[in-house]
Structures are given as C-alpha cells and as structure tokens.
C-alpha cells in the first residue's frame, strides 16, 4: 500500500484559491486572480495525473484487481453511536478517472476563460467561483462516504447556482440560476431521504462498507416492502432521484437548458463535462448495491436514462440556440451513460455496461467540453447564440472549425474517434441485456449524428450572414484548450478501460462486436448524410419537414411544454394555491383568532365600563347597598 495522502491537496488547493481570490481578488488587477487560479489548477492537474499514473500503472501489481483505498479520513460529526460522518479521500478506479476528467476540463476551462472572460466585470469573482466549483467537485469525487458526497453535492449545486447567475444583473440569468438550484434541490430531497433510509438500514455511510458484496447493504436486505419494492430498492430509487436531478434526467432536466445563461466556459465545465455527470458517478459509486441488492432500482435507472436520451435528442433537433442544442445533447448523452449502468450486471463481462458508462463519461467530457468551448469561441466572435445569426464561419475561424468538426464526428460515433469506442460498448451492453432499450439507443445514435451536423453545417456552412464586424479567430488562450481537447477527443478512446474501470475491479476482455458496431456506424453516417443534404446549403427542406411534422415539431420545439408544466406547478399551485392561502390564513385566521381574543376582552370592558360613571352618588349607592348586603349575609345567612 502506498501513500496517497498528498491527494488531500487536490481539493484543498482550489479551496485555498477560492478563499484567496474571493476575499482579496478586488485588491489586484483582475488578470492576477485569473493567473493565480490557473496556476493552482495546473498543480491540481499534475497531482491528478500523477495519482492516476501511480494508481493505474506504477503501483499496480499486474494481474491483481484494483481495490479502493482511503488516503485520508477525519471525523466531521457524530450523528449517533453508530452513524459518524467522516471527511476523507477515497481512491479507486472511478474516482481516479473522475479526477482526470475534472482536473483536465477544469484546467482547460481556466485557460480558456483567461481569454473568454477578458475585460468582463467580476473577472476575479469568476475565477474564485470556478475554484469553489473545482473544490466541491473534487470533494464529491473523492468522497469516502455517501454523506460526504451529499455535502459536496450541495456545494456543487451552489457553485453552479453562483456561476449560472454570474451575470447577476441580467434577469434571465438570475431566474435560470434560481431554477437550477431549486430543481436540483428538489431532487436532493430524494437523495437525502434515500441516504436517511440507507443509513438507517445499514448503519453506515461508508462507501467501502456499502458496496462490499459482503456488506450490510447487500447481505441484509432488510426493511419491509412498500408497494412491492423492498426498502433498499426504495432507498436507491430515491438516491437515484438526486442523481437524476443533478444529471438532468427526465423529468428533472428542465434546469439544464436554462443554465446555458451562464458564461460559456461554465457551461463547458459544469453543465457538460463534470457536474452533470455527478449523477452517473453516484450510480456508479453505489453500483454493486444497485446491481446486487436492488435490480429493480437499476431498471428504473436504465429506463429513465433511455427515455431521457431519446426525449432530449428529439428536442435537440428543433432548437436554434446553439448552446441549448448542446445542452440537450448533453442530456441525451448522459441518458446513454445512465442506461449503460442500468443494463449492466456485476462482475466480469456482465459488467460491460458499467465500464461502458464510465468510458462514455470520460470521452463525453472531452468532446462535449470541446463542443462547448468551440461554441464559446463562436459566440465570442459573432455575439449571438442563435444559429440563424451564423453561417459560413469556417473561413473566419479555421481552428474552431476543425476542432468543432472533430468533436461532431466523435459524438456521431465515427470509427477510430473516442466516441465510437465508448458508444459502441454501451450499445453492445444494451444489445445483450435489454433489446427495447437497444432499439431506442440505436435510434438516438442516428438522431445525435443528425442534430450535431445540423448544428455544424448551420454554423460553419450554409448561407453567409452579414456580420456587423468581421468574425475573427479566437485568441490563443482559447484555441489552445480547443486543440488539447480535440487531441483528447480523438485518442481517449484508446485507453484500455475494460482493464482499468470495471464493476468489480478485475479486468475483462472486451472487443468490438461488429454486429452492433457496423449498424451503429451506418446509422450515424445516415444521420450525417441527411443533415448534409438539409443544411449544407440553404434549402427549403427543413422548413417543409417542420410543417410536415406539424404538431409534433411544435411540441418538440417547445420542449414538450415541460417548462410550462413546471411553471404551472410552481407559480400556480405553490404560489397561488398554497403559499398565498397560507399567508392569508395566518394573517386572518390564526392571527385573527388572537386579535379576536383581544377584541372580546375589549368588548367586555366596554360592557362593564358603565359602572365607572363618574357619579359619586352612584358609587355611594353601590357601596352602601353592598355593605348592607354583606351585613345581611354575614348576620343572617352565614
């Protein structure tokens, strides 16, 4: 066992950066905060890669499985004799993989932001929030127990809130940040209750104990059944609800498209590559429990994932805001990952889905961050998010164009790029375990290729719009991250994930199954071909199709009216039909009752105040008659 205590620095450096730039950022020139943040992140990235190399290769004994180990742990609070919350650092294949994802993308985004955010008001604030986010995300990834994960889960949520609402004078950004926070908070309610149930049943928060095949969560499947599902199944479904909220799964996805109000680097970091996959990570973390103790909960995961990916892919085909298209695409891809986990079994080749889900998480982080950063460069150049304002940009922005194209090809699943490998594994897993879901995913693969190339052609080809000023290629601080990520998108697929990240820590044999791979590549190419016909040159076809599909198109364009449903629930029901009557009830009934008591006393005082007439003779009369009465009582009646 080797010493990994230094990994504690990975979350602590960003925390220190956050406090430092947050408290003193306004004292320096903005760029200083940016450089400090980026340098710090560079160190974090180095440490992460070092950890990964050590964990996966140098310290690894050939032929042995990968075990999880605690590099550090300290007590945070005792809830009761049995339940203690610790804070610590857990090193195992998926956490190390996430370290790479988070540090790489975060570092790239830091560099990119130096250029993208240049001259913005609150530059220092932006970097301090980024550090806060990186800290929280690292804490989440390295959590040794589910409660620590919940702690950082909330912190990630709040950093997302702060970053979405970065342009806080813009009402739409404010409401988007509010929405994101409240929706995920609602999902976290489920997560929290799930944790409560899980910890109540197993008396532990610790991941190592929970996921151990001989641990209490798996062996003592206690608790009475409720609605036909066991207690642990309910607990895990509720935990998944938290994950679904953070990962924007249907029906808790509505915050994600709106979250695009945040600065684009933030969208790339939080809402594409890292935070939104936290839900996948959570399920992966608890995977043995899901798989061995609550397969029903795993089915829920699979179907929610599958449905969300289809749902989002359909919506993505109709949107015109490029960031929203990417947001729905993210949702769709995360659906893939969830589905992969959902159809997976435990151990050996059965755990293909688990590996594939994590693999896709990894490759997706690369190419989706690349897409978002590319979109940021485009927005930076044309000052618009709408693809109607774009077209023919390939001449002005060659680097962005090439990298964007690579990313689009990757996500479309073109062979030899990373997306192909991971997506293919997912489809294989689904093919073996769940045919209906395979068919859905197969269709989604085609849709994905289609909407991505719709996006690509509308931006870089098509009719050339008249720009107010000539668009220009982004500065080097922005293009270098693009190139690095493009490199990652191409080659990440060659990592031997089936040896490194597996459900039980043991490597297994995986190979490309041509029965799945060839059709999936073909449908990808078909999607690209259709997009090419429709959008390469400006044509009438899209318009005609839109009218042809009529209602359906409108439904999809309006995101199936999910926002309206939510608005109805929040604005109408919660505000108007609960909160308002409660406020009224409180002021008029409860308080009215108190006032009524006061009133009654006041009224009775009015009634008896006539006795105090001010007439001395009346007082005298009462006095005398009273005395006489008393005398009579005492003498005769006693």
């Amino acid at each position: 066992m080797t010493d990994y205590t230094y990994t504690l620095l990975i979350p602590l450096i960003p925390l220190a950066l956050f406090l430092f730039t947050g408290l003193t950022g306004h004292k320096f020139k903005p760029v200083v905060s940016g450089l400090i943040g980026t340098t710090g992140l560079f160190v974090v990235t180095i440490l992460s890669y070092m950890t990964a190399i050590r964990y996966f290769w140098t310290d690894h004994v050939e032929g042995m499985g990968y075990t999880s180990l605690k590099a550090f742990e300290t007590t945070w609070i005792h809830f009761s004799d049995k339940l203690t919350v610790n804070l610590g650092v857990l090193i195992d294949p998926i956490s190390v993989m996430m370290l790479i994802v988070v540090s790489t993308v975060s570092f790239m985004v830091h560099i990119y932001s130096l250029g993208y955010m240049k001259g913005e008001v609150g530059f220092a604030r932006f970097f301090s929030f980024l550090s806060l986010f990186t800290f929280s995300m690292m804490g989440l990834v390295l959590a040794t127990n589910i409660f620590q994960m919940y702690i950082f889960w909330e912190l990630v949520g709040v950093s997302s809130f702060l970053l979405i609402g970065f342009y806080y004078t813009k009402p739409s950004a404010v409401s988007a940040s509010k929405k994101a926070f409240i929706v995920t908070r609602f999902a976290d309610l489920g997560f929290l209750i799930g944790i409560l149930m899980l910890s109540f049943m197993t008396d532990t928060f610790d991941f190592q104990t929970l996921v151990s095949p001989t641990g209490p969560a798996i062996t003592q499947v206690g608790g009475a059944a409720f609605l036909g599902l066991s207690g642990i199944t309910w607990a895990l479904i509720l935990v998944f609800m938290g994950g679904a909220g953070k990962s924007a799964m249907f029906p808790l996805h509505i915050w994600l498209p709106d979250a695009m109000e945040g600065p684009t680097p933030v969208s790339a970091l939080i809402h594409a590559a890292t935070m939104v996959v936290a839900g996948v990570y959570l399920v992966a973390r608890l995977f043995p429990v899901y798989s061995l103790a609550a397969p029903d909960a795993l089915h829920v995961v699979a179907w929610v994932g599958g449905f969300s990916s289809l749902f989002a892919a359909i919506i993505a085909c109709t949107q015109t805001d490029i960031k929203r298209v990417l947001a729905y695409s993210t949702m769709s891809q995360i659906g893939y990952m969830m589905l992969a986990l959902g159809v997976s079994g435990y151990g050996g080749h059965d755990g293909l889905g688990f590996m594939a889900g994590n693999f896709h998480l990894f490759t997706h982080a690369m190419f989706k961050a690349l897409l978002f950063l590319g979109a940021g460069a485009i927005i930076h150049a044309v000052h618009s998010n709408d693809m109607k304002d774009m077209g023919g940009l390939r001449k002005y922005m060659p680097i962005t164009h090439i990298t964007f194209l690579i990313a689009c090809l990757t996500i479309a699943g073109i062979p030899f790029l990373s997306g192909f490998f991971s997506k293919d594994e997912i489809l294989t897993a689904a093919f073996h375990h769940n045919m209906p879901l395979f068919i859905i995913e197969f269709a989604v693969a085609g849709l994905t290729a289609f909407y991505m190339f719709r996006l690509y052609f509308s931006i870089f080809w098509g009719k050339e719009t008249h720009y107010h000023h000539t668009p220009h290629e982004a500065p080097a601080t922005m293009t270098i991250p693009l190139l690095i990520l493009a490199f990652g998108s191409i080659f990440a697929g060659y990592l031997p994930f089936h040896e490194l990240v597996t459900s039980d820590g043991m490597p297994f044999e995986a190979h490309i199954e041509y029965a799945v791979a060839i059709p999936s590549v073909l449908i990808g190419l078909l999607g690209i071909a259709i997009a090419t016909i429709m959008y390469r040159k400006q044509t009438e076809i899209p318009q005609r199709l839109a009218t042809g599909f009529g209602y359906f198109y409108n439904w999809a364009y309006h995101k199936f009216y999910m926002d309206e449903v939510y608005l109805f629930v929040t604005k109408k029901i919660i505000f108007n039909y609960i909160s308002r009557p409660v406020a009224w009830f409180d002021r008029h009934i409860v308080d009215g009752f108190m006032n009524l008591i006061a009133r009654v006393i006041e009224r009775s005082a009015y009634l008896i105040k006539g006795f105090q007439s001010g007439r001395i003779q009346q007082y005298g009369f009462v006095f005398v008659s009273g005395t006489i009465a008393l005398v009579i009582i005492f003498i005769y009646l006693w």
């Binding site: 105040k609 105090q612 007439s613 001010g614 007439r615 001395i616 003779q617 005298g620 005398v624």
Partner: protein, 105 residues
C-alpha cells in the same frame, strides 16, 4: 346615671342620624348638602363611640379620643371639601353633583 338612659336610645338616635346622612348623601344634588350629610354620618358615629365607651368600658377614654380625632378630621375635611367645592364651582359654574362626572371610563 347608668341606669337612667339605656344604651339603645343612643343607638337609635345615632342610627337615625346615620341613615338620614346616607339618604342625604345619596339623594341630594347639592355638594354642600352632601357635605352636611357626611357630617351627620360622622356625628352619628361619634355618638356611638361615646355611648359605647360609657356603657362598655367606663374606665377607659379610648372612645372619647376617637371622637375627638373624628371631629378634628371632620373639620379639616370640611375645609378641604369646601375648597374643592369652590374649585368645582369655578370650573363648572355649578355645584350640582351630577354635572361633576368627568372621572369616568
């Protein structure tokens, strides 16, 4: 002398005086007459004091002392009362007791 007039006679006289005082106090509207009624009450009490002292404790003088104190207090009280009545007259232009009912509620 003890045998000549029975105690009841004094008590009857004082009771009559007391209740005429009470009656006068409760019915007369003029403040001066009311004051006079109060004097009647006080004096009826004085008679009682003296009479009881004489009949029950002939060796003591406590009853007499009380009577003297009452007379002194009554004098002082009359002085104060008349001063108040004068002030009331100045303020209300009347010494009708019904008009003086500001002290209420």
């Amino acid at each position: 002398m003890t045998g000549t007039i029975p105690l009841q006679y004094f008590l009857i006289i004082s009771t009559l005086m007391f209740f005429s005082g009470i009656f006068g106090f409760l019915t007369r509207k003029n403040l001066i007459t009311m004051l006079m009624s109060i004097e009647l009450i006080l004096n009826s009490v004085n008679i009682n004091f003296v009479a009881f002292n004489r009949y029950l404790y002939p060796d003591n003088l406590h009853g007499h002392f009380f009577t003297l104190i009452v007379i002194a207090v009554a004098a002082a009280e009359a002085a104060v009362a008349i001063a108040i009545i004068i002030n009331i007259y100045r303020n209300f232009r009347s010494i009708e007791v019904d008009k003086v009912d500001e002290m209420k509620f």
